[in-house]
Symmetry: C2
Subunit: 427 residues, 2 copies
Amino acid sequence: MTMSTALLTDHYELTMLQAALRSGAAHRRAVFEVFARHLPGGRRYGVVAGTGRVLDELRHFRFGEEELAFLREHSVVDEPTLAFLADYRFSGSLYGYREGDLYFPASPIMVVEGTFAEAVLLETMILSILNHDCAIASAASRMTNAAAGRPLIEMGSRRTHERAAVAAARAAYIAGFSFTSNLMAGREFGVPTAGTAAHAFTLLHDSEREAFQAQIASLGESTTLLVDTYDVPDAVRTAVELAGPKLGAVRIDSGDLAAAAQEVREQLDALGAFNTRILVTSDLDEYAIAALAAAPVDGYGVGTSLVTGSGVPTAALVYKLVARETASGTLEPVAKRSVGKPSRGGRKEAFRLLDEQGRFETEVVTTSGVAPEGGLPLLHELVVDGEIVGAEPLTSARDRHRETVALLPQDALHLGRGYAAIPTEFA
Amino acid sequence: MTMSTALLTDHYELTMLQAALRSGAAHRRAVFEVFARHLPGGRRYGVVAGTGRVLDELRHFRFGEEELAFLREHSVVDEPTLAFLADYRFSGSLYGYREGDLYFPASPIMVVEGTFAEAVLLETMILSILNHDCAIASAASRMTNAAAGRPLIEMGSRRTHERAAVAAARAAYIAGFSFTSNLMAGREFGVPTAGTAAHAFTLLHDSEREAFQAQIASLGESTTLLVDTYDVPDAVRTAVELAGPKLGAVRIDSGDLAAAAQEVREQLDALGAFNTRILVTSDLDEYAIAALAAAPVDGYGVGTSLVTGSGVPTAALVYKLVARETASGTLEPVAKRSVGKPSRGGRKEAFRLLDEQGRFETEVVTTSGVAPEGGLPLLHELVVDGEIVGAEPLTSARDRHRETVALLPQDALHLGRGYAAIPTEFA
């Protein structure tokens, strides 16, 4: 593995570059935009995530000696192209919706301006990051809504690619999760981490009692004991006997979680452990979380469904050339006419209109450059003339997401399949 | 990003370690096994992939100064545990199904033997890799079968996490894909890369003709021209006019691909371009590929559905403690009794029985240590006493996969939902 992110790129980006360098068109000014033609899975809104990672990876998007040697050895591109790549630094500008904000069909969530050569090279990296992170954050946001204030722990690392897991933890945190199990997400992004023990820990010891004793001795009475390895009522009784009524929490990872939580709550209360929390895990998704709303559950751990986007593992975002300089030097809109894949030419601006109650009403996407009255501007500077200006703390994105979701029309939080929560209008 | 993979680990692995170090149980010998309770998505077989990546990451699984500083600063574990981690080297043994081989429900595709302390730490890394890579390879294998010998190009990098994309390209190659668009997969794993141009290249130029001229001038007449930016028949005519009948290929990325391929084939033949191939792309999956069997298509590019496992983005593999040393020093089988999550205690061996025609008949999983007569042993040494012995070239896994799929019962290649192609018997 290398620090450079430059080869996280599709072969065709470099062959296009080579051919465009040869024709001279590589140096034309160009505008690419990232948008989704639709919200897959009948989702009502998407969540922007990954912007900060794009800026991080842009810093490392350099073709060093090793990368150039690979490209030369495998004849991916010719020598003039290698020379261009050796000097490559993105010197253009990048605008985007802010991380944690929402998006709808056709929202131009990222706009890349530069020469064709420098902008086309970023397609793969930008789309990889945004398609993954937006998909995860969009699913996570639904889970946060369903949990209605109860804390969520992201624990899907074992179910997805080891590096995707780190990005998923970050995206989930933006969308309202409180913790992750993933230590690298703590290290790289400052996401709070959590975890205590799995069934293996109980099975390792000669009895459940010995396992609980060991865990309490080491992690303290505030720890979370996993109570479903053998018999739940037995385990709960042993847990409170050993830890006392200040036992932090018990975790249930199997069975009918609503019924089990009810029984465990009654048992804990009868044992005087009124403040011992009940955490549930086991293939939870937003629907299962919503179904547990009336159960005495104090927190949810979500794994598989979070890291796989709960049925929508990728966000359907595309990166399209919308304007480019002509031979005569003017910037002109362009759009392909491929069947069934509509795209609109021209550099976009985007604004959000609010209704009288201050809730979102319309997403306005315009090529006119004119802001609609009262419209909130959605595109912000991320990179200006090659300089990164849009980095921000992850907690800003998390705060923004919470505040922004609160402004959606109420039916946007329905979990069923539907249409975009607000219409997109082209001005 | 760091070179060490040690923090690609769930928080609870380290707290379990801490508590087990305190109780002394950490040093008990233990056996963990990786298996799937079922094949999700009604798949008939799974494909083992990721083994080689597990061995690579094991080499970098070290808690260095930076990792330890993070763990200390965030009070993840106590000082005795940090001291253990600082010296951590996996000194146990690892056995596994060979990469490219197939698996079925309960197949123990990886067996980890060591002390509890050293084996538990690897859970997250091993499961992340295998759950992702097996899911992708299993989907890819169905696509390879559906393509019936026509070459497949993996081009899903833009639809998944940027590092998952590299692993996906590797897994697809094992399962029979011929190329990837992902340059890092070429660099890190030697997967052949391919690609020519996207719509942006055509739109960049003042006309499609100028774009094609530029591409042919730079990449040669054997290149692949993308013909659906504006009007397909116009583009095909221009393409052959400019490149001549030796034009390598045309690519169609939209519309009714079967009908379009038929029309383009007729047009190419009429223009004398008999050897110009037709490549199709556009949201292909194994079903769409199968539906194009009768169309004059020479190759398929697959993106989204490949990298998302075509509906099954994770393989449902788990990592379970199946045996551990007791206080008295004997190795005993263990299994949890959680509702609905069956697992069988005891260290397994696995064998495959063939019928009279030499096709696979039964997967035998046994704790007896006795091989059934004529059974092919499926578990092979990967790491012995800490030393990696099972690394092999990627092409070996690819060859093995092709040879192994050929031995499945014929109905195993049906694309519809079904049961495992062969039964798993517990001896």
